[in-house]
Symmetry: C2
Subunit: 294 residues, 2 copies
């Protein structure tokens, strides 16, 4: 048996097209153009690239992209003032502060300064709290975890009543994805790198999330036949046969696990491309809410 690929490239392209359609419709019927503002402090090259990608995808979907670039030595007050302006700007429906921030800035305070109803990245403490709590919905959930759920939904993988096993409760991905799965009615097991009997526990999972930052850690005999495997890992490993001398792999031993699993995300091309697609989707959702037409 070979697993069905959970194809993040194809699904994210479909979502971007849906968002573009809906954005065009929103403009035609209500004169509203959904707008995403990115806030970048300093000139970290990786952060600049991420922000640029988000801006570009935003424009491609027919949405407005606003950019605030602040100097490396901006004060906390200066950063919060920039956010306050965006909070008040009716053309801005989503605000994303690119992390990490320079050490002299307070990440908690900064995230809490974003208007809840524009927190499309889902890291405002009130949104995190609502993500954790049952029977309340956050205004927005974080984009990469949301992308994992969306992949399961698009391929018809049931969540309610299933057992989800999450390896690695990282604050950015593993933990929020675990909470999303739990709040969709999954029985949840969260494992750490130090967990004893890891293979035995992973084998309980109808859904397995590998977010443990160990290349190819999850082996074929750890996986229950037919399980859905979501790999959020991303590592470069040496590969003499590859043109660049390395290959990108995830936390799952893909070649072997795909023979056992029912569904599996490739790396690259799985959860990665879903992240920006969900950011666009959250921004569109916010624009519709602001117009009272959710």
């Amino acid at each position: 048996m070979t697993a069905q690929l959970l194809d993040g490239n194809a699904v994210s392209a479909a979502i971007r097209a849906e968002v573009a359609d809906e954005a065009a419709q929103l403009k035609a019927t209500h004169g509203i153009v959904p707008g995403l503002a990115t806030v970048l402090v300093g000139e970290d090259p990786a952060s600049m690239t991420y922000v640029e990608m988000k801006q570009e995808q935003c424009r491609k979907a027919g949405m407005s992209a606003f950019e605030r670039v602040l100097p490396e030595d901006v004060t906390q007050e200066g950063l919060e003032a920039a956010i306050a302006e965006l909070n008040a700007d009716p053309n801005v429906h989503g605000i994303l502060v690119q992390l990490p921030l320079p050490d002299h800035l307070d990440e908690d305070r900064t995230l809490a300064a974003i208007a809840l109803d524009k927190d499309v990245d889902g890291f405002h403490p009130t949104n995190v709290a609502k993500l954790a709590l049952q029977d309340v919905e956050p205004a927005f959930a974080p984009c990469m975890p949301l992308g994992g759920i969306e992949l399961l939904d698009r391929y018809g993988v049931e969540i309610h009543g299933k057992h989800a096993v999450v390896l690695g409760p990282s604050n950015i991905v593993g933990l929020p994805l675990a909470l999303l799965l739990m709040n969709r009615g999954a029985t949840l097991t969260v494992c750490h790198a130090h967990t004893a009997d890891l293979p035995l526990l992973v084998r309980l999972g109808d859904i397995v999330v590998a977010a443990i930052d160990e290349p190819r850690m999850v082996k074929a005999d750890w996986v229950k036949p037919g399980a859905a495997v979501i790999d959020v890992g991303w590592s470069r490993v040496k590969d003499e046969t590859a043109k660049k001398g390395f290959r990108v792999v995830g936390n799952v031993d893909f070649d072997a696990v795909q023979e056992v699993a029912g569904y599996i995300t490739p790396v690259p091309g799985g959860t990665g491309p879903m992240t920006i697609a969900m950011l666009l989707k959250n921004t569109l959702l916010s624009a519709k809410r602001h117009a009272g037409i959710e």
Copy 2:
């Protein structure tokens, strides 16, 4: 084998005595009397009783108890104004809004109005978010879940690297206790009432938390020999042999499970009495922090 009782009556009495000692010392050395303010809206008899118990224990520990009783029809603004006054009052180190609130009031907004550093009940959204996230500490964790952890600690039950199984992720107890255990390095499984193979999963637990609101649901053959069992259930069941015609029982079939478990909380007398003790402890902690002597 008969399990060691996790004796909430004895431990909570010890904690109350420790808090009273430390409060007396804080007064002698710094002239500070730790103060807890309770906010009660309306005249619900159960809520009035709970508030009265908290006030009484506070005074017994040599701490100040402040009381705000607001009319049933107080506006949201009125309630928040009362909280703002307590936030600003230097004699108040802890603020507890008794829940539930009447329907016309917004619980989320109300809890978020409490100063973070006086949120001794631990339900401010920023404290809930920090409870969920790894490697950050909430200012305060909720008292009943904290009481469960304290019982494990006082009896030397290790948490890190152990497997904790939580039945019922309720927002008030089960979920925060699950997050506390996970952030102490436990492998975590969270089960719902609808979880398949419940006995099998519970039997994986070195620590079992029963918070599922089903009298005596957890049976002896669900429990791994030697496990620590924390029962946060509380139900009245008919009992002709009892003087009042009923008995109070938990979610665990106590008589049978105590023959298998290594540690077990009785009901009553387990987690229940720990709650107010931890509230006093949080209030003392807050007073020390406000004085800069944590």
